[in-house]
Structures are given as structure tokens and as C-alpha cells.
């Protein structure tokens, strides 16, 4: 246990000493380690450590928050008093004694090999192997950079409802970027899978495969033609487009944005918001995925939540404080980047469920369009649903066949419109690993989808 239960009780009691509806202590101990290879040379190894606690006090509509890196009685008491005074400088209330429930279940991570137990030399050797593998794809590869990353985050949450719960999250990720040079300039390729797993991750994801994929992408794009402009059918390869639905639809289904009337999905539960056959799920329990955990950062168990069921909007995602206000249970979507921040509604692993069409048939059925194999980052205005995404690997579809690679393409559209415009859903599936930013906080998430087609999205290319 990071902090003794008796001290947690005392901290919560101090936090509520001046009144308040709810108090919480979030304790975190985080270790991370990374190594980077660039230009054929191991540049640097970095280790980091951080521990501390955040205390929040909710009083009426106001949340007061303070944090400390001192996990001793004095540091926690100071943070509790600061949070309490932030929550309500003027009001008075009755003192409450907080008693925690039975001893919290100590989370036992489902990890076979702790990354920290593996010698640094082994990790270095993997980076060099990736460098060799990427360069072996061809002389056009000009430069390669590769990154190894591991992180362990132990958390402990206690609140004035008597809850005490803990989690131990271990994440592993490997990334490769390759730059290829040809007659028409330079192109880059990138691949960076990650999972909530230990070092056994590498039994599933061979570093040479990751490297070769990045290198092949860069080389392929050397022959790319400028992307067309205008509204065309877009086929998203399995895994490639989940991030689009994460950004363009998922964020609009977060209860905090809905509450602010800053979502196009506000007030639409029970209504049709997507084409028949479209089912959108956010699943914090998805085995070993990048956005998976046992409990969220408010101590609530992770859940699988169906947000859109066969085209009908069924529910939003909730954190604890907003769920309490709405008189319902949290959906297990309360997350925060570190103990230094307040939790808010965040996605976990968000995916569109598979359909029953053969993905090959979807392409064959498309006379002219764009086939997206990888999307880069994107951005969405949740109030309007308008989104924009860079296509980092894409091809023209001509006469039902994938033909030439395209470059410098940007997809723009509107989330709700794209959901309604899905006209083919494949029977395959894959996920994508990413970091999701919201209000300055970044958390690990994954997204997924089968190969599918959106009837029309605007592609902004540079072809004349």
C-alpha cells in the first residue's frame, strides 16, 4: 500500500473538516524508462520517477483541488486543508468522520515479465535490431530512429464514500520512424504499437517487423502522387480509422462536454445518430489494450460501455462526480494524467464493432475513392463535430482496385455526418495505439474498427 489506510482516513476527515459533499485522495507512484536510437547511435537512456497525492473536495457545484509530493502526514494534511479552502472559503458545514471500507483489494497486474527486471543491455540490443531491419528494406532508407518505452503506474484511491481501491498498470511501447529519400524528396514511415503488458509484449510484436513496416511505408510513399481534392468515398482499412471515430464521435459522447452543451450529441440519447449496423463501444476492460485498466482514476471498476447500438445513441461516458450529480453510476471513464490534475471524462479503448462484409468486396465495390491505411493525428471541434485528419498512408482506389499511393492528404468532415454515411462494414478488425489529449492532459488510449467505407468525405490534396 502506498499510504496506510489510517492516514488516508485522517486525510479525508481533514478535507471535510469545514464541510463538503465529497472528498477523495488519489495517490500515485510512477516509474518510467526509455531509450532512443537515432542515426544509428544509442543517443540516450532516460529514467524518471514521480510520486505524490492529489486531494479534492466537492462542495455544491465547486471542486477544490490541491496536490503534494509529500506522502507523509504533514504533506497530506496540508493538501487536504488547501483543497478544502479552495472548495469553499466562505461556507460553513458540519464535520464528518470518514471511515474506509474493508482493506482494498491489492491489484495484481496480469504481467508475465516486469520490464524493469530486464537488463538495459537487452533493450539497447532491440533498438539496434530495429535499425538494422529498417535499413535492410532498401538503400532509399536515409535515416531511422527507434524508441523503447516502459512505464509502471501504481495508484491508490480512497474517498469519503468509504471506497479504497488500487491498481498497478504496466505499459510497454516500441516505435520506429524511417525516412526514405527519392527523386521527389523525402517521405517518412512510422509504426508504434503499445499494450498494457510487460516485456512479453515482444513475443507478440517483433521489433524487426515494426521497423520493416515503417521502412516499407516510407519507401512506398516515394512513388506517391499528389492527393486529389474534393468529396470522394473513403475506405478506412481495419485499425486505421478508429482514431477518426474516437476524435469525431467519442469526444462528443463525454458527459462533461454534453453537460456544457458543447457536443453535437447533447440531448440525442435514444435517437438514430449513425447508419444501421454501426455499433460504437468504449471498453476499459479490453484485454491488454493500451487504454486498459482494472479501476479508473476515481477507483471505479473499468467497464465495457455500448455508446451507439446499431445506429441508436444509447449512452454517454461518465466520471464519478458527473454521475453522482445525474444520480447514476460512473461508467468507469474518470481518468487523469498524473496526481497533479483533476480527473475528467476520458475514453479508454474505443471501437466500432465488426460487420459481415468481406473487406476485399468493399474495395472492389468502390469505383473511385481513397483507401486509408494509416491516419496521423487529428483534431475535432466537439461543438460542431467538424474534424480534420492527416492521411499518413493512403492510396487511390480506381475501378475497384487499389492503385497509386497518395501524399499530403488531409481528410475533413463532420463526425455525425460520417457516422450516418457509413455504407459498408467489414468482418475484420484491428486496433491502433495512441495518446489522447484533452484540456492539457494526455492519457493512453486505443481505438479500433473493421475495414469500412464512408460514402463521402472531403479530401484536401495538392493535386491541381
Amino acid at each position: 500500500m502506498l499510504v496506510d489506510p489510517g492516514l488516508l482516513e485522517a486525510t479525508l476527515t481533514t478535507a471535510l473538516a469545514g464541510g463538503g459533499d465529497f472528498a477523495e485522495v488519489f495517490v500515485e507512484d510512477r516509474r518510467s524508462s526509455s531509450a532512443r536510437l537515432d542515426d544509428g547511435r544509442i543517443e540516450e537512456l532516460v529514467s524518471g520517477r514521480e510520486r505524490g497525492a492529489g486531494v479534492r473536495v466537492v462542495r455544491g457545484e465547486t471542486t477544490g483541488f490541491a496536490h503534494t509530493s509529500d506522502l507523509g502526514p504533514a504533506g497530506l494534511a496540508d493538501a487536504a486543508r488547501a483543497a478544502a479552502s479552495a472548495a469553499a472559503a466562505s461556507a460553513t458545514g458540519t464535520t464528518r468522520q470518514v471511515a474506509l471500507g474493508g482493506p482494498g483489494r491489492e491489484a495484481t497486474p496480469d504481467v508475465v515479465v516486469l520490464p524493469e527486471s530486464v537488463p538495459k543491455a537487452t533493450k539497447i540490443e532491440m533498438l539496434k535490431r530495429a535499425d538494422d531491419a529498417a535499413r535492410s528494406e532498401g538503400g532509399a532508407i536515409r535515416s531511422v530512429s527507434a524508441g523503447y518505452a516502459e512505464g509502471r503506474r501504481r495508484i491508490l484511491v480512497a474517498n469519503s464514500d468509504g471506497l479504497i481501491a488500487s491498481d498497478d498498470r504496466i505499459r510497454t511501447r516500441f516505435s520506429v520512424q524511417a525516412v526514405a529519400s527519392g527523386d521527389a524528396g523525402m517521405q517518412t514511415g512510422y509504426d508504434a504499437p503499445g499494450r498494457t503488458m510487460g516485456f512479453e509484449f515482444y513475443d507478440e510484436f517483433a521489433v524487426d517487423e515494426i521497423a520493416r513496416r515503417a521502412a516499407r511505408q516510407a519507401i512506398t510513399l516515394l512513388d506517391s502522387v499528389p492527393a486529389p481534392s474534393g468529396k470522394v468515398p473513403v475506405v478506412l482499412k481495419r485499425g486505421a480509422g478508429g482514431v477518426l471515430f474516437h476524435e469525431a464521435c467519442g469526444h462528443g459522447l463525454e458527459a462533461d462536454l454534453v453537460e456544457r452543451d458543447a457536443s453535437v450529441f447533447a440531448g440525442k440519447v435514444g435517437e438514430r445518430v449513425a447508419a444501421a449496423g454501426v455499433t460504437l463501444i468504449d471498453d476499459g476492460t479490453f484485454a491488454r489494450e493500451w487504454g486498459t485498466f482494472a479501476i479508473d482514476d476515481e477507483g471505479q471498476p473499468a467497464r465495457s460501455n455500448t455508446l451507439i447500438d446499431d445506429g441508436i445513441l444509447t449512452d454517454y461516458m461518465w466520471d464519478l462526480v458527473r454521475a453522482r450529480k445525474a444520480g447514476r453510476v460512473s461508467s468507469g471513464n474518470g481518468r487523469r494524467e498524473t496526481y497533479q490534475e483533476l480527473p475528467m471524462v476520458r475514453m479508454t479503448n474505443t471501437y466500432l464493432a465488426a460487420g459481415d462484409t468481406d473487406p476485399e468486396a468493399i474495395i472492389a465495390d468502390t469505383d473511385f475513392g481513397v483507401y486509408c491505411v494509416q491516419l496521423g493525428g487529428g483534431q475535432v471541434n466537439t461543438a460542431t463535430g467538424d474534424f480534420v485528419f492527416g492521411v499518413t498512408e493512403g492510396y487511390l482506389i480506381e475501378g475497384g482496385k487499389i492503385t497509386r499511393p497518395i501524399r499530403a492528404a488531409q481528410l475533413i468532415g463532420n463526425g455525425p455526418a460520417a457516422l450516418r454515411d457509413i455504407d459498408a462494414i467489414g468482418n475484420d478488425f484491428a486496433t491502433w495505439t495512441g495518446m489522447c489529449g484533452k484540456s492539457g492532459q494526455s492519457v493512453p488510449v486505443s481505438s479500433g474498427q473493421p475495414t469500412l467505407r464512408v460514402g463521402g468525405l472531403t479530401i484536401g490534396g495538392t493535386a491541381a
Binding site: 543517443e43 540516450e44 465547486t62 509530493s69 504533506g75 471541434n381
Partner: protein
């Protein structure tokens, strides 16, 4: 707080002094104190008062560099962090150019005397800050009948102290305050909703201008009401000052000496060549105290100076820290930057801006005649290839017809290449707008881009 605050410079000196023979050590320590207030629906939604302490330690031995950081300044944690950095160094591969700043690197440039700290910010009671945020929410909500709601109103301030010391005797410390407020409004219904924001930034509370935030949010929200997709074509584009600043942020990678050495700069080997329209001057000047990124010394303790990157359209230089300068065979430009105590120094800008021209934004519109005025762009980082310079980004704004704003536009993309855009600069406005980040921008007219739409 219960513990006496640690003297940051003394802590860093102590760490630097623990260097073994043949070893270089640098310590960088940070302490921040921040207040953040979020208001929604007429009440304070959250108020957080918090501070962070941390230290980053770099060890270089036999050309091998190791790094470790910790979010604590406790003695035992600091000891473990130094040991981790030392161990990490043994696994890195030697780089003949690696090393810390020395006396030679700091000689010759006077350290600017900048007044970046305001004691009075620390004296402002939290109640006054809360009152400001509540008032901002109230005034914006009542400012214009076309607004449907205030999406958010917030206030934030910070007092940051940093110290650095290395085993060559280089030392530097700094204190600065910053204070900002912003608000965002919504107008229009359903999928015709528009949102826009306004902000104000300064070094202390009194510098914030509530009315300016409200006016900016109202203008940016309401002028886009009824925006629609329009047919694509090639046309002149006018960039809003905030958009210009965003583009400069993306463009800055091309002037980065580290990227240049790794063959990843657009302007590889083009010093002395014309890379922008004649008359264009681009400067990174961290010694200008009016820029929010101002600082007297960089992340290695080297004095900052005014660096002219482009003069009369001609590429002058790349930016360097001590390691990239050694490798390039030139002197550091005092451009080491780091993302807090958790990372090693890289190379970056702090106060990048184009030199203003004589025209007001209205004159630029009038002279442009027909154009697309871009109020905001989205997907700038994902939509730009930093190596080839090709970009295609989402845009919203207004059609400019006969020199005046006409119908609003959304869901279009604009595309060109960064080198082409620099050469296509026609006019730079007189309206330099300073932002919380490391760039500032004016209204800028670009001769031509490709707009894609319906």
C-alpha cells in the same frame, strides 16, 4: 507548506559538485506555484492551487550521456536520480560532440537583464482571481444576443523558479510569473453551432483585460455564424494573427540546427539563399521582455540573444545548442530548450515573430480584394510534412470580396508548401499579437493557396 523550500541553486550546485574525475554533471531544478480556476454556468467549477518541484540530472562520461529525472527534491530521491543518470550513461554510445556548456560557450554575450517576475501577482488574493473568472463568464454571457452559451471561462497563473548548475561552473537561475484568462462562447444551433474564444495574457493580474477577451470571443464566434462549405479553387489567403503564429510554430523546425544536422530540415544547406519574399525578416528574440517566452538564458545556462533567421528573405542561420553547435562547427545561438525537468535540452525557439509591416489588417483586406480570410486552422501538425514542407490543413474563416468580409466558410482545407508560402508572402500587418507560447503573429497576406471544399 510543512517543509522549508529547498534553495534550488544550492541543490543544483551540490549535484554538479558530485562529479567524479572525467565526468560532467548538470542539474536543472524547477519549482512552480500555480492557480487554476474554471467557471461554468455562473459558478466556480474547479479551483486548484498547486505546486510542483522537480529535478533533471544529466551525466556525460567519455562522450556517453545519461539522464534521469524526479518529481521531488528530497535528498534520498535526488541521490537515486543522480545514480540512475550515471548508470544510464554507461549504456549510451559515445558521441564526440556531446557535453555540457562551458565558459567558452557563455563568453562574449552579455546576459540580458529582464524583469519577468512580479511580486504583486503573488499578493493577489485567490478571491480576486475567482471574482475575475466569474465576471468574465457573466459579461461574456450577456455580451451579444446571438451567443447561445458560454462554453468556458478560466483564469490561470503561475510563478516559476528554475536553477541550473554544471560541473564546469556554469550557473543560472531565473524567476518569472505569468497570468492569463480566456473564455469561449457558443452560437447557433445543432450542427450549425460555432464556437470562438478570446484570451488575455500578462505577467501579473492587472495586465489582464476582461473587455478585450469578451470582444474577441464575441467577434470570433458570431462572424462565423451560418458558415458553409464552398467550392474549392486557388486563391489568395489572409492569415489571422493567431494562425500566422501557429504556422511559425510548425515552420520553426526548419531552422532547428539539430534537424539540419540530421538531414531533416527544409532549408538544408541553403544559408545565404532566398527562402522568403524580399523584405521578409524573421527573428527569434528571447531577450525581448514583451514576448511571453522571454528569458535571459537558455536551458543550458547560455545567455540568449536576438537571432535573425531570415533577413530580406535570405536565410541567415540555424539555431543551435552547445552540442549541435560543436557538431556544426559554429557557436551556440543560446537556443537550448527543454520541456521542463523531465527532458534533456534540445534546440528550439522561444520568441519567434515576423517583422511587422506598415499596413493595418483593414488595409491588407482592402488591398487583397478577393481572398479567403483564415480565422483558424486545424490539424496543422498532422497535416504538415516537416521534411517535404507539404501541408494541407482544415480551415474556417470568411470569404473576402472587394476588400471586405463576406460570407463565412467552414469545412474547407487549404494547401501549399511551407517554402512556397514564405516566398508567396505579399504583406505582413502592423498588428503583432503576442501569445502565451513561443511565437507571435500578424495578419499576413499570401499570394496563393489551394482551397478544397465541396
Amino acid at each position: 507548506m510543512s517543509r522549508e523550500p529547498v534553495d534550488l541553486l544550492a541543490l543544483c550546485r551540490g549535484i554538479a559538485a558530485s562529479a567524479a574525475p572525467g565526468e560532467e554533471i548538470e542539474a536543472f531544478a524547477v519549482r512552480t506555484r500555480e492557480t487554476d480556476i474554471e467557471v461554468f454556468g455562473g459558478h466556480v467549477e474547479s479551483l486548484s492551487v498547486a505546486g510542483i518541484d522537480g529535478v533533471g540530472v544529466r551525466v556525460v562520461a567519455n562522450g556517453r550521456q545519461g539522464f534521469a529525472w524526479a518529481g521531488s527534491l528530497d535528498d534520498d530521491v535526488v541521490r537515486d536520480t543522480v545514480a540512475d543518470a550515471r548508470d544510464n550513461a554507461t549504456f549510451a554510445e559515445p558521441d564526440e560532440w556531446s557535453g555540457l556548456a562551458t565558459e567558452a560557450d557563455v563568453a562574449g554575450v552579455e546576459r540580458a537583464r529582464l524583469d519577468l517576475w512580479r511580486d504583486d501577482l503573488l499578493a493577489v488574493p485567490t478571491e480576486a482571481k475567482v471574482a475575475f473568472a466569474l465576471e468574465l463568464d457573466r459579461v461574456l454571457g450577456a455580451a451579444d444576443a446571438r451567443l447561445r452559451a458560454v462554453e468556458s471561462a478560466s483564469y490561470g497563473d503561475g510563478a516559476v523558479e528554475t536553477a541550473l548548475a554544471n560541473s564546469h561552473g556554469i550557473e543560472a537561475s531565473l524567476r518569472r510569473t505569468v497570468c492569463s484568462a480566456s473564455a469561449s462562447a457558443l452560437a447557433g444551433e445543432g450542427d450549425r453551432t460555432q464556437s470562438g474564444y478570446g484570451f488575455s495574457v500578462g505577467r501579473t493580474f492587472d495586465e489582464l483585460n476582461l473587455d478585450a477577451i469578451v470582444a474577441m470571443a464575441v467577434e470570433r464566434t458570431t462572424r462565423l455564424l451560418g458558415a458553409r462549405q464552398v467550392p474549392g479553387r486557388r486563391l489568395a489567403v489572409i492569415l489571422d494573427p493567431l494562425v500566422t503564429a501557429s504556422f511559425l510554430g510548425v515552420l520553426s523546425a526548419a531552422f532547428n540546427g539539430e534537424s539540419m544536422l540530421k538531414g531533416r530540415s527544409l532549408f538544408q544547406g541553403r544559408e545565404g539563399e532566398q527562402i522568403a519574399a524580399p523584405g521578409v525578416r524573421l527573428v527569434d528574440d528571447p531577450t525581448d521582455p514583451t514576448m511571453m517566452g522571454a528569458t535571459p538564458h537558455d536551458a543550458e545556462g547560455v545567455p540568449c540573444r536576438r537571432n535573425e533567421l531570415v533577413a530580406d528573405g535570405v536565410l541567415q542561420r540555424f539555431l543551435h545548442n552547445t552540442a549541435t553547435a560543436r557538431r556544426a562547427g559554429c557557436a551556440t545561438t543560446g537556443s537550448a530548450t527543454r520541456g521542463g525537468f523531465k527532458s534533456t535540452p534540445g534546440v528550439g525557439i522561444r520568441a519567434l515573430a515576423l517583422e511587422s509591416g506598415p499596413k493595418s489588417p483593414a488595409q491588407i483586406l482592402a488591398d487583397a480584394g478577393d481572398a479567403l480570410y483564415v480565422q483558424s486552422v486545424s490539424g496543422l501538425h498532422s497535416g504538415t510534412n516537416p521534411i517535404s514542407g507539404d501541408f494541407s490543413v482544415g480551415a474556417e474563416g470568411l470569404v473576402v470580396r472587394d476588400g471586405a468580409f463576406a460570407e463565412p466558410v467552414r469545412e474547407v482545407t487549404i494547401a501549399s508548401t511551407l517554402p512556397r508560402m514564405l516566398l508567396d508572402i505579399v504583406d505582413i500587418g502592423s498588428d503583432l499579437t503576442r501569445l502565451p507560447g513561443s511565437t507571435a503573429g500578424q495578419t499576413v497576406l499570401i499570394a496563393e493557396m489551394t482551397m478544397s471544399g465541396s
